[in-house]
Amino acid sequence: MVKVTIDGIEIEIPKGTTVIQAAEQAGIEIPRYCYHPGLSIVGVCRICLVEIERMPKLQVACYTPATEGMVVHTNTEQVLEARQAVMEFLLVNHPLDCPVCDQAGECWLQNFYMQHALHDSRMFENKVKKSKALQIGPNVMLDSERCILCSRCVRFCDEISKSNELGIFNRGDRAELQPYPGTELDNDYSGNTIDICPVGALTDRDFRFRTRVWYLSETESICPGCSTGCNINVHHNDQRTYKAGGSRVSRLKPRYNPDVNEWWMCDAGRYGFTHVDADSRILAPTRSIGEEQEMSWGEAASEIMTKLREVISVHGKESVGVILSPQMTNEDLFVARRFFRDGLGLKHIDFEVAPLTTGAKDDFLIKADKNPNTAGARLLGVGARQGSGMTVAEMLEAARKRKLRALYICHHDLANGFAVDVVEEALTAQDLVVFQGPNTNSTSALAHYVLPAAAFVEKTGSFTNYAERVQMIHTAVTPLGESKADWQIFRSLAKEAAISVPYFEAEDVFQALTAEVEAFSGLPYAGLAGQGIALRDGQALPESETVVA
Amino acid sequence: MTESIGIVLGKLAFVLLFVLNFGGVLTWVERKQSALMQDRIGANRAAIFGFRAIGLFHGIADAVKMFTKESFRPANAEKFIFTLAPAISVFFALIGFAVIPFGDKLLLGGTEINLQLAPLNVGVLYLFAVAGMAVYGVVLGAWASRNNYALLGGLRAAAQMISYEVALGVSIFGCIMIYQTVDLQEIVRWQGGYWGGWLPAWGVFLQPVGFILFLTVGIAETKRIPFDAPEGESEIIGYNLEYSGMGFGMFLLTDFIETVMIAAITVTLFFGGWQVPYLMPDGFHFPWGGTVELANWAVAILQVVSFTFKVIFFLWLQMTIRWTLPRFRYDQIMRLGWKYLLPISLANIVITGFLILMLK
């Protein structure tokens, strides 16, 4: 440990810490462009110059290790002058096309200019023209004129994605960021280069011109794209709903969590939110026996329960299969368990559907299991492997033979896990098929009743990731149409069946869950927000336990 | 019964035409006079075949609009009273004219016609009674609307009109003490005399304070600016809030009829009514000695014309005041009525009585 003094604040830091990190711990922000905590240090942007006593010149805070007794000043006249000079150089050839730049509003060139520079341009020369609006990958647009050559993206491609697509070629004012000729920036994590770009050089093709960033609100959430459970912020547009064709969720951004995804997320997760505002969303409870007809929740609940009770009374409890989904939150699954298993006394409950094609995976963030809550479902014991009932495959087989008469399917498109004709034969042989989920799919097309469930951005709850870390999602936008969170749907069905589900908020469910389920016992609800809580110190589940076909 | 039904109907028609035409024309006068006072032109757009008639058609356009407009009634309104209230209002404003003399006697084919619709020997009391009823239309209309704002307006109207009713009565006691009669025709005839042989013995010279008090109170009774707290159409909203179409039109008309009424009473009590200076029943007898012989019918016509012009002058004066002064605040109205007008009226009676005793 070494003691350093930064702007009069004395702090003790481990040896080898750089000045910029030490300042951060002391609560002092030093401006930076090239420095990123997740990347190697290069010290090329020179904006982080600070004055260190007994050193003849200003030093870069990002590359200077803090040493015992060091006294640093980040706010002297000399430092401010140096920052202004650096800003002036950075802006020499910057096109200042902020009005059309998507980065405007979250641009560090703008921010530091407002904070530190505020000078008038002294340049009369024409600005150097470089390529603009260049599509360098499926997700990324490059504007070389705006680039300040901080090389964050280059280092990201070298060090994090290890795919080496980007380089800085030529020198002087002709130096230009380009992908290697003949390649494009198409690695699985390319979207992160947009996040780390401090200026508007790299912008998002998907987000391009949809709205302006200052119209967006931010809600903490968890990526539902795979079992990693990357921490994300949902950026949603509440104020100007007419923008971007009325889509409410504008983009997802990774949220720092040192134990899960650090600063990153994969492109599949980043752009995997389109289903939230898709046309395929189910808007109201629908009866699709004969002619399709929308109904109220009250009608739907009483009709479904009447039919379900009929099936149970004629054919017995063994004749009903419930297929839950690892896309549902712990709360949803717990209420489902309470309703179907404890309340109705059903035996055949499962959630795992092995996909026909194995999901892509790598050894960084992408997991083959594309569900966010497989571990949670398992811990809650709602699977056939944990209970004694039939697996989904067995249920479909039994359904085909009409041993099962009613199926309650949540979220799953069964065609992803089974041959189409198997599913069709099984479902058409049923007396009652209820589908519950946010979007229509080939399974919902065969259901007698379709119930709209809220999408992940529309509800509050918790997911348990592959390493059994419980993390929270929050309601970012109000549920579309009549849709409700899954547990609320189960609650209204339970009310019809006179089964007590005395929960009003997701928090109530979670409290009951921690009281009843051994694995979750003692989890504080308040502690889940932010980084989440690991159930058993981040040990991953053995791969063999997850069903990946 | 000295007059035939025909003659009574004739007089009735004359009085109604007189009053209603004045009421109608006042809507035009109000627009044009205010415009002239404010260096404007005033309403001049309504035209028939491109002929604009300096804006006179606006009154017709108003009438057409009010008759054809939906007469809206709020769902909770007291249906019967709500419909009746404007009629009450306009009715009591109109019947006051029954006792106003607009001329002396006209000899027509041997019949002596009293140019007064109802020769009532308690004319002044009748006027008080009628004026006292006028507030009912306003208050009933406001209450029947079942609208809090309208009701508040109605309450302001009731408070104002009842307060000023007292001062109204007291302010003319002085006149009556001098005239020694409450028959309006007699009052007018009393004013036919001359002081010092040349100054007409009009009430205004005998009772200047009484005249100012009466005019003030009279204007207050019409509920027009500066005493329009009950209506306050521009901002505070009044008793006629829920009225539209002709219901509203009748309230509007009431104000104008009352204006004519006040003008007529003022003329009758203080300006010699139909009297023309130096005009005797047989012609002019000037104080400097000249005489002009006139037939009885000519005298009658001169008297009616004289009365009309005096009324017109007071209409003009009321209009001028209405477009000159801003509105009094409610508390100012009350203070003025109770703390100034009433005591001064009472003092006026005492002083008048004292003077009468002294001069006898």
Partner: protein, 158 residues
């Protein structure tokens, strides 16, 4: 992309160079010199090959290559005329020399003849002002040029 490779001789030279540096990638510049000498210019294939030799991604080779202006990334003629246009040479009439060469070689500045015989380029001061006007022909300096001496050199080298 045709596979390129160093000759045995160059390869041993490369091994000798790499051995001088603590890190393989530090030998980038000498290796690029070597490659330029061997292949005439550094084509994309050569970039990849050099990257393989130094165990770095080809893009890193390209970054270095484009940073230095004197590496040839395009084919260059057998005779490379680099006429100095520094201030001394300019005063002493390098413009005439350049025009003469352009005429003689039938080339514009910064062009290479189609048969890869000549390349003509104008360069900044080569540091031989005492012999201005001068030029560099491949690795040799020629000073005190006149159109006649240029013709002589040309004849000699043909």
């Amino acid at each position: 992309m045709s596979k390129v490779a160093f000759s045995q001789e160059s390869l041993s030279e490369f091994e000798r160079i790499v051995a001088q540096y603590p890190e393989r990638r530090a030998a980038m510049l000498p290796t690029l010199y070597l490659a330029e000498k061997e292949f005439g210019h550094i084509s994309p294939e050569v970039e990849v090959y050099v990257g393989e030799l130094l165990q770095v991604p080809a893009i890193k080779v390209r970054e270095v290559l484009t940073f230095y202006t004197l590496f040839a990334s395009k084919p260059r003629g057998k005779l490379h005329f680099q006429v100095c246009r520094g201030i001394s040479c300019d005063l002493r009439g390098c413009t005439k020399i350049i025009e003469h060469l352009q005429e003689k070689l039938n080339l514009n500045s910064e062009e290479t003849s189609a048969d890869l015989a000549y390349t003509l380029s104008e360069v900044e001061c080569l540091g031989a002002c005492e012999t201005a006007p001068m030029m560099q022909l491949n690795d040799d300096y020629h000073g005190d040029l006149t159109t006649e001496t240029v013709d002589l050199i040309l004849d000699e080298k043909k």
